[in-house]
């Protein structure tokens, strides 16, 4: 359950942790994993650690869960990221910033 609905603070805080971003990336690669399957994806974490991070992601709405039979499946919910994109990224993505990113890509590609 979401503690405080419609709160982008929760999304930014959830995304501010590398382990939680890793869990999102794992779900992006293979959506709908159970807790046990996610645990196997991040062996460096304890079961409790995975549960704790999943709870933060779920509270932020970045992970949605569905029960199927005895299993609870975790799905990456892209909508909050889309809302952040529209609110915070699309607006600032002007031509100058794009040119700088092109320069960064070119310079880094040379390495």
């Amino acid at each position: 359950m979401m503690g405080c609905v419609d709160d982008e603070d929760l999304v930014f805080k959830a995304l501010a942790d590398p382990t939680r971003r890793l869990l999102l990336d794992r779900l992006f690669e293979r959506d709908g994993m159970t807790l046990g399957e996610l645990e196997a994806e991040v062996p460096q974490l304890t079961r409790f650690g995975v549960m704790k991070h999943l709870a933060v992601l779920e509270a932020a709405g970045l992970v949605a869960t569905r029960k199927q039979g005895r299993h609870k499946h975790h799905y990456l919910n892209p909508v909050p990221i889309r809302l952040i994109y529209e609110r915070w990224i699309d607006k600032y993505r002007d031509r100058r910033a794009a040119a700088l990113l092109d320069l960064k890509d070119q310079l880094e590609a040379r390495r």
């Binding site: 609905v5 419609d6 959506d31």
Partner: protein
Amino acid sequence: MTTEGPAPTTQVYQLYIKASQEEVWDAITNPSVVAKFFHGARVESTYQVGAKLRSLSPDGSDVWGDNTILECDPPRRLVHTWRSLYNPDMATEPESRVTWEIEAQPGGFAKLTLIHDQLEGSPKTAASVRGWSYILSNLKTVMETGAALPPVT
């Protein structure tokens, strides 16, 4: 870096809208509102189980969808088939399923969950319906501000 594999065969989209459960139900079943958040589509249906759910391009010249209502439980749950007729490659893929679930939440919010599943035989459709994020965020904007987002470029 993560690599993009085949799109999931069950996809879940969820968001909160500052509106009542009934208002969200009305929005997703009212053709004049659907047109505002769904690429200007012209939708026709009686929303009875077994009835057709047809959608046409804004000028009515193309058939975008010719689906069937599988379940209808206002203002909670709407289930219909899905086939992407607007794209010839996707139109030949098997039918998949779309479920809309609306729950009332405290504080004057409704929680909308859209599940697009049974996509096992339809990889092209599965990849393209990632656009539900755009559609649903557009629905939220329409309901909360009355204005639609600019079209996707």
